[in-house]
Symmetry: C2
Subunit: 192 residues, 2 copies
């Protein structure tokens, strides 16, 4: 009876979460990660609770914790000239950082055994994969590529156009490698 | 009997690992993380298997996987002029990156309940904390600060001395914040 109860709870949570996900799909689940997520959600023992396919962002960070502002964000390849023009028009006293972030994914698992199975597969490809809650049997996976560097301080742009071009090339390259890794991971989901 | 066997195994592993750790202490366990590690190892239900207190590095990355070379590495605050001089003398065809990495810690736990307890405490301070192996009941914790940016490409230094100074200031600042977080974490270990 306990087991039945647990299964029902998991299935209800899955149903509720995926319904919620559907609602936000229009604006928030990006295409690049959609198929991976669908593949995972096809398996009755797992469901995804949040995701991002990776992105290139400009972010300002104030002195206080959580005093952050997104000045630019794209899940696609970034355009050098657009970024450079944008930089000229940023008015902030805060420090501004250029960042490339890899995909991130949170998955809920039905049982501890299911979590172990998922973790073993994920860790074949990703160094940053772990169970972050035993209560919720929730796994977090983060891709390995990243860039993070200061570009504006005391209202002054610290980098040249040439350096921004190099940064953007590198970020775009890493975003593509990140997508390839997601594709590779998608092909391994059948092992679950 | 099973439980006794498990406990004996855990205690033996702890003893073996800590003896090994002692051997490498002279060269490899850095002072900044030593007290945190000792605090954790005082608890009979946990032992640390590897650690780094955070560092500032210059690293060259070739096209092939694992084709990396450390050109500079410090666990202390970095010196701007030393870094700039070093940059002038780097001879490599590979891309070179400036990185600041936060502390990283791996901890083995005796039981799943012990792992859960450790995880709950670690996640109060760190977003990147998770169980990475259920077999070994191993937890990985990584600090939140990071810098990673390309600085040499096609044998050309892409940044100015002024920008390197800014990067180094930021890296040193983040290294200090990272040490503070470790200190804060150390004070929470008694909760285990």
């Amino acid at each position: 009876m306990t087991e039945n109860f647990e299964i029902t709870t998991f299935e209800n949570m899955k149903k509720n979460t995926l319904t919620k996900t559907d609602k936000s799909k229009k604006g928030f689940i990006d295409e690049k990660i959609k198929k991976l997520i669908e593949k995972i959600n096809e398996n009755k023992n797992y469901f995804t609770t949040s995701s991002c396919s990776g992105r290139i962002v400009l972010i300002s960070k104030g002195k206080k914790k959580n005093e952050c502002e997104w000045l630019y964000s794209t899940h696609e390849l970034a355009d050098k000239d657009e970024l450079w023009n944008l930089l000229q028009n940023i008015k902030t006293n805060s420090e501004v950082f250029f960042k490339m972030e890899s995909f991130i994914l949170h998955v809920s698992c039905k049982t501890l055994t299911d979590a172990e199975k998922f973790l073993l597969i994920a860790r074949k490809l990703f160094k940053r994969a772990g169970i972050i809650s035993l209560k919720k049997l929730s796994i977090e996976i983060i891709g390995s590529y990243s860039i993070e560097t200061l570009i504006i301080k005391d209202k002054k742009i610290l980098i040249s156009k040439e350096y921004l071009d190099n940064l953007t090339d590198d970020a775009n390259e890493k975003l593509k490698l990140n997508w390839e890794k997601m594709e590779e991971f998608k092909k391994m989901i059948y092992l679950l």
